[in-house]
């Protein structure tokens, strides 16, 4: 029997879970496959986070520092878990760096993969230099200057296309990625702030700036930053002879097809299941749900359980979610893991 907890993945979910377990005095082994801690917000260079407005490197940086400075937490970077034998309370885990550890519980914060826009060729990503993803645009915002990658000119008009890799049966993405509406309204405001002569248009099917994000992002982006919202899904992005991009859609409220010139087109990319999920499912012996995310066990009385006893799963490994929710999941999983281990100790005594 071991009361050490293995946390897999050092994004917002895993960093929160590791800190949570350590805060009640238990040992944590934190394994991260990349050589950098912080997960998607750091690896993809997110700009300012929703809803705090703090730069990702500052906010997530604090989470990393908290974990790195905790003597209860042992960190393995650039490392994967290769084998998980045993049962709840007594798992024998092998790591890719040759280490073997004995742990009582496993927390999976293995996250997601950004949708690869190459899978929607009609929207021009990979064909035209001035077609970017939201993560690329956030990286541009972080440089402090908004320019067209093709020739460095300041864009007059930027289009953000929502639901790229979401809500699309044609490419097997039948889910709403939940965060892209809010991220895009936030991005529209950041663009306008840095480049006041640039107009931003958002093309949408529905706007899902859920909860308190309605007025803080959706309304604010219109009222204070004059972002234009057009209810249309873009059919294709092409290039006009003068080098500008052309987006073709139907303005469904005006009910006519439209072709509009743009200088930059941004894909609001959705959240795919982690591309490693088939491997994760096999290594940890946990199930996948129908879209390819990790499967939840019974939720009401065994919250954040996976399909294997003693293995917990949360954050965007379960499905698209925002950073704040993932951090809560991490802490909830810490509670579950420690609680279950304490119960096992009491039973054994």
């Amino acid at each position: 029997m071991s009361d050490t907890v293995l946390v897999v993945g050092a994004g917002p979910t895993g960093l929160s879970a590791a800190a949570g377990v350590a805060s009640v005095g238990k040992k944590v082994i934190l394994v991260e496959k990349e050589n950098v801690l912080g997960g998607a917000p750091i690896l993809s260079g997110y700009a300012k986070l929703v809803p705090s407005g703090e730069w990702a490197k500052d906010a997530i940086g604090r989470m990393v520092k908290r974990v790195e400075g905790d003597s209860n937490i042992t960190i393995h970077k650039g490392t994967k878990v290769t084998k998980v034998d045993g049962d709840a309370g007594n798992f024998n885990v092998t790591l890719s760096n040759g280490t073997t550890v004995n742990v009582g519980a496993v927390i999976l914060g293995t996250g997601f993969t950004h949708f690869d826009s190459i899978n929607k060729p009609e929207w021009g990503f990979g064909t035209f230099e001035d077609v970017l993803t939201t993560t690329q645009m956030e990286q541009m915002v972080a440089t402090g200057k908004i320019t067209c990658p093709s020739d460095g000119r300041v864009p007059e008009r930027v289009a953000i296309l929502l639901c790229v890799g979401s809500r699309d049966r044609q490419i097997g993405r039948e889910w709403c990625s939940k965060i892209c509406c809010t991220v895009s309204t936030n991005l529209a405001m950041e663009i306008k702030e840095l480049s006041p002569t640039t107009d931003v248009f958002i093309y949408y099917m529905d706007i899902r700036t859920f909860g308190l994000y309605e007025d803080k992002f959706y309304w604010k982006s219109q009222e204070e930053f004059k972002t234009k919202f057009v209810k249309a899904r873009i059919a294709e992005v092409t290039k006009s002879p003068d080098g500008r991009l052309l987006v073709k859609g139907e303005d469904t409220l005006v009910k006519r097809p439209i072709i509009i010139p743009m200088d930059i087109v941004v894909h609001a990319v959705g959240m795919d299941p982690n591309e490693d999920n088939p491997e994760i499912s096999k290594t940890f012996g946990v199930g996948l749900e129908k879209h390819g995310f990790l499967e939840r066990g019974e939720h009401y009385t065994s919250t954040f359980s996976s399909t294997r006893r003693g293995v917990y799963v949360g954050g965007s490994a379960l499905g698209p979610d925002d950073i704040d929710t993932c951090i809560s999941h991490g802490l909830a999983m810490a509670m579950r893991a420690v609680g279950d281990l304490n119960a096992m100790v009491q039973k054994a005594a």
């Binding site: 099917m205 899904r233 873009i234 059919a235 859609g249 469904t252």
Partner: protein, 227 residues
Amino acid sequence: MATYAEMREIYDEIRGDFRYDHELNGCLNCGVCTATCPSAQFYDYSPREIVQLLWTENVEQIYDAMQEKIWACAQCMTCAARCPFKNSPGGLVMIMREVAIKHGMQSAKDVLRPFGRVMLKLITTGNQLSPDMIQPDHFPDWGPNIQKVEGDLKTLRKAIPVRTLQTVETAWEVSLKTSVEMYTIWEMTGVLAALEAMDENLFDVIEDFIDEKREEYDDWLEEQEDD
């Protein structure tokens, strides 16, 4: 003007088609179908509107759309290839057109009238176009670049595997047995009934032709037995 009951009956028939649920799952109203539709660029036609009318069971507007709008669709099915919900607006138009024909709607008659000769050739021989009929002069919509490949057209045609379909003479020369089998198919699938509803004169001409061919075939069969 049709009564509500008549319009309702037409809707029910469209709704009752075995393909309907496959072509229509719901609608997110994104407009990608209309954006991508070549006909919507030129006509008062919108695939999203057709989907919406059917999805909301707007029987009056469905009937109205069948008077003109549905005939603007080119049946290119780009809408079906793009729809994020995997609907097929073009497939729904196909069902609506079939119901319009079945009910002998004037709009269907008006649209099909110029195609009498095509129908005659198609129903009697099974095809009406052979590759050697396809000449650039007849198709200005191919654009000026077609001249670049024109010289190779003869060679390109040879790549078509079915040799008999390469020229007008061979394409329109159909074996007696195949013809008679094809007429049975036209009859059993309701094509001839649809034709009768659309153009009675053309139907009479074609039926005479079919009867003649069937007699010829029967004679040929008897000859075989005699041998």
